[in-house]
């Protein structure tokens, strides 16, 4: 890809041709706050907090929507820029219920990040009280439009990333708000609960219901793994606290799913902690399962298998492996059947 040279904040910088000023700055380690822009939903030009000055161009320029050009001189930190950004964030803070104290998004809220970056404690504008009903009708997602900043990310993601075409921006002016279908409660709408909107939301307007109250962002350990459901192999982060998975998010910049997940991948994790999980080896005695130690269960099983092998031969034993467990466990299974038992009678449900 062809490179271009530009100057950002007095420093020489390089960017790929066709890239936006925002990306060029980020590539060169310069932070420009954004609220509506997201790498997967691309430029939005809605929040205008990413404004910069470009030499030779009048007014402030929206950096997420303007292409960087060879020889450009860009300023991202002038007083005028900072004052403008402050005003934008203050306007946001005044126009909704943005109370960080017990907000689920605290610590990963992009509005909070922008305010922190700009050193804002509160809005200097009078706060317009918002008291919209919280939509908890979906079993997995809480939709609280009091925290919405009209960034359009969720609408863009729903329509153009996962193409489920459920969310839309309804009403206009001060009443503008995200609606499902024709303004139905989320739980009664055609929403397929993929959770893409939750993942893209910069605040807590769209939130994982099952994670609410279970831990602050900074308390959670993020473990990257692969989804245990279908064969797409989505990359996901398990967010863990005290040996419990609190929530799941898609890995933004990784193949094959690039952040997207489905209802099962994103919300089907709590079977892991089900009280019905098997916790002890069991041996059936007189028709009833009785708990046993590993020593006891393994010795009993090995003896039984050896006895069958001796009496009836290796072909009297068969093994069925598992399309759900890891490659390594499957390798061991087929090795066990072939090396320890001595038969090729090994199969798995490749056909269901």
């Amino acid at each position: 890809m062809k490179k271009i040279a530009l100057n950002i904040d007095g420093k020489d910088a390089q960017a790929a041709e066709g890239d936006t000023i925002l990306n060029a700055a980020r590539e060169n380690g310069i932070y420009i706050p954004t609220l509506c822009y997201h790498p997967r939903t691309k430029q939005a030009g809605k929040c205008r907090i990413c404004v910069v000055e470009v030499k030779g161009l009048p007014d402030l320029q929206v950096s997420c929507s303007l292409q960087a050009r060879d020889g450009m001189t860009v300023n991202t930190t002038s007083e005028r820029i900072i004052e403008t950004r402050k005003m934008i964030v203050e306007l946001y803070l005044s126009s909704g219920r943005h109370n960080c104290i017990s907000c689920e998004a605290s610590g990963e809220c992009e509005l909070q990040d922008a305010a922190y970056h700009l050193g804002l404690e509160k809005s200097n504008f009078p706060v317009i009280p918002k008291d919209l009903p919280v939509d908890s009708s979906s079993p997995m997602i809480i939709k609280d439009m009091n925290k919405c900043i009209q960034c359009f990310r969720c609408v863009e993601g729903c329509n153009n990333v996962v193409v489920n075409e459920v969310l839309e921006m309804g009403f206009r002016g001060g009443d503008m708000t995200v609606v499902c279908d024709t303004n139905k409660p989320m739980g009664k709408s055609s929403c397929v609960i993929c959770g893409e909107c939750v993942q893209l939301c910069p605040t807590a307007a769209l939130l994982e219901k099952k994670a609410a109250g279970k831990g602050r962002t900074w308390e959670l350990k993020k473990v990257r793994t692969t989804c245990p459901y279908c064969g797409v192999g989505c990359q996901m982060h398990l967010h863990v606290k005290d040996n419990e998975i609190i929530k799941v998010t898609g890995v933004e910049d990784a193949a094959p799913n690039f952040g997207t997940l489905c209802i099962k991948g994103r919300f089907g994790y709590d079977f892991v902690h089900s009280p019905e999980r098997l916790r002890s080896p069991l041996i059936k005695r007189d028709g009833e399962f009785v708990e046993a130690s590993w020593e006891e269960a393994l010795d009993f099983t090995a003896e039984k298998l050896l006895e069958i092998k001796k009496t009836h031969g290796t072909e009297a034993i068969v093994g069925i492996g598992c399309a759900r467990t890891t490659n390594e466990n499957n390798y061991i299974m087929m090795k066990f059947m072939r090396a320890a038992v001595g038969t090729n009678n090994v199969d798995h449900c490749a056909r269901t």
């Binding site: 064969g231 050896l306 390798y331 059947m337 269901t352």
Partner: protein, 527 residues
């Protein structure tokens, strides 16, 4: 998949046959739908009016179990109109004349009688595919779960070879695999005829290589039994012990009564699972296993991408990782494995598997690697047969004739039951039914019945009815919907209370032993 998920968005034509993609592989469906928004033509061939048809340019609604007749006829029309890729066929394939002879028996007028589409519709599909710059073909179990599953797959491959749609981006024969590591379990040789990377168990050199690596003098030289043959052996009393790791056979195998009979008959059943599922109840010993979040290792996805799995939480109680349990059992039976980490197991695997030799844990950081990846410098393979190099030299056309499903409707059982999954649940329901919220979204199984059939039988939406086959009956709530055509019903195997596999037919493809889950005969009774 011969090709990769990433290519989907750039495919000029996407042909989906026998795949309910939005429900079974939602994330791949996102790519397909994005492709449509960018201008791709999405063509769906499916008896059911599945969700994906909302985004399709055309939906061809052929009858259940008639894929070969339809595709052979499409090939007939492509050849007749001189739209086949003659250069590709001549340079890179063998058996074209034989293919021509076979498809010659399927002029659209004849195929129409079999598949239920009009001759014009067949010609239209042939024109769309025949004039497309490139087409990527996608299928799922709608193609494979038939007694002619192998022939169905070969016919899909024949079509793509005829059009030169192999060995380049945005083409290919792309099965979407249904379980997180079903590709990996196959790749790892958990099959009765092959070792890792599909190395034949009957090949003495392969056996010698593995025997040497495993410190053994010899390894078994005859092919083993596939699951249906295992069941037969259990019923006949030849097979005395079954070691079952992570499968819920009672729910997932066809003809539940037959499965239960086999499980009751076997002398010694070991079940290793995370729940005491419907199958575990028949066990003599149960081993509690760790699940995906409690395990380190790798899964391999449908596009051959090997990716890391990482332990995030501790297993409950005394549950242990599968590998630990199996190797402890092995040690007690006199064969010591002695691995100290999952990475050590992978290292052994890759060194014995030429197609994966270049894949190490270190190299899997980031986006993983797609096999074939034969050496440490190789960057993996996005699509197979690049430069039209095929493993067997030239690609072989393997024409097949259409055969009806093993069981077809008659006066006593007038409906075709076809089965599958829903978006809201997974497989035998053991995981999704134990995750909060899922039962709220979809709490009980529904049998899909066409409105015309429902009217005739006086069945109303929401009525409980009996679905009866030669093998069993299920009481289930009716969903009167246009999703199924007249004469066809649809059910899943997510709910043990109403499992479709009570009804399904244990008739199998002769090569793969895949059961005909997609077609059996039932009748509906009012209660």
């Amino acid at each position: 998949m011969t090709n990769s998920i990433r290519e989907i968005e750039d495919c000029p034509v996407i042909f989906v046959i026998g795949s309910n993609t939005t429900e079974t592989h939602p994330v791949i469906a996102y790519s397909m739908k994005r492709a449509v928004k960018k201008g791709s033509r999405l063509i769906v061939a499916d008896p059911r009016k599945i969700e994906l048809t909302r985004w399709a340019a055309r939906h061809f609604r052929h009858k259940v179990g008639t894929d070969i007749a339809l595709l052979n006829s499409v090939m007939y029309e492509i050849i007749r109109n001189d739209r086949h890729d003659k250069k590709f066929i001549e340079n890179h394939t063998e058996g074209f004349e034989e293919l021509k002879r076979t498809v010659n028996e399927y002029p659209p007028e004849r195929a129409s009688e079999i598949c239920g589409l009009s001759a014009d519709e067949i010609k239209e599909l042939a024109k769309i595919l025949g004039t497309a710059e490139k087409t990527a073909l996608f299928y799922t179990l709608g193609i494979t779960e038939h007694v002619t599953g192998t022939d169905n797959v070969k016919t899909c491959a024949n079509l793509q070879m005829l059009l030169g749609n192999l060995g380049k981006e945005c083409t290919g024969v792309n099965p979407l695999r249904g379980q997180n590591n079903v590709q990996g379990a196959c790749d790892m040789g958990v099959l009765p005829d092959v070792y890792t990377g599909y190395q034949k168990a009957t090949d003495p050199e392969v056996r010698e290589k593995f025997a040497r690596a495993w410190g053994l003098k010899a390894l078994p030289d005859t092919e083993g039994a596939k699951i249906p043959a295992m069941f037969d052996g259990m019923l006949h009393g030849d097979i005395k012990a079954l070691y079952l790791v992570g499968e819920n056979l009672v729910m997932s195998e066809p003809n539940q009564a037959h499965t239960i009979k086999a499980l009751e008959k076997v002398d010694f059943l070991i079940v290793q699972d995370i729940f005491l599922n419907e199958t575990a109840k028949y066990a003599h010993v149960v081993f509690p296993a760790a699940c995906f979040a409690e395990t380190d290792g790798t899964f391999t996805n449908t596009e051959r991408r090997v990716q890391r799995v990482r332990k995030a939480v501790e297993p409950p109680g005394n549950a242990k990782e599968d590998g630990w349990i199996i190797s402890e059992l092995s040690r007690r039976m006199g064969y010591v494995m002695g691995y100290s980490s999952t990475e050590e197991i992978w290292e052994e695997t890759r060194k014995l598997t030429p197609s994966m030799s270049g894949i190490t844990y270190e190299r899997l950081e980031g986006d993983g690697l797609q096999w074939p990846c034969p050496d440490l410098q190789h960057s993996g393979t996005c699509y197979l047969y690049c430069d039209n190099v095929f493993p067997c030299g030239k690609a072989q056309f393997q024409p097949a004739h259409w055969k009806p499903p093993a069981e077809t409707p008659d006066a006593e059982y007038p409906f075709v039951l076809t089965t599958g999954r829903r978006l809201w649940h997974y497989h035998t329901g053991t995981q999704t039914r134990r995750s909060a919220g899922f039962n709220e979204v979809f709490s009980e199984e529904l049998i899909e019945v066409n409105p015309e059939d429902a009217r005739r039988l006086d069945i109303k939406d929401g009525d409980y009815i009996l679905a009866v086959s030669r093998r069993g009956k299920v009481k289930v709530k009716a969903w009167v919907t246009e999703r199924v055509p007249s004469g066809v019903c649809f059910m899943t195997f997510h709910f043990h209370e109403t499992c479709a596999n009570v009804l399904t037919n244990n008739a199998f493809d002769p090569v793969t032993a895949t059961a005909e889950y997609k077609a059996c005969a039932i009748r509906l009774e009012k209660i």
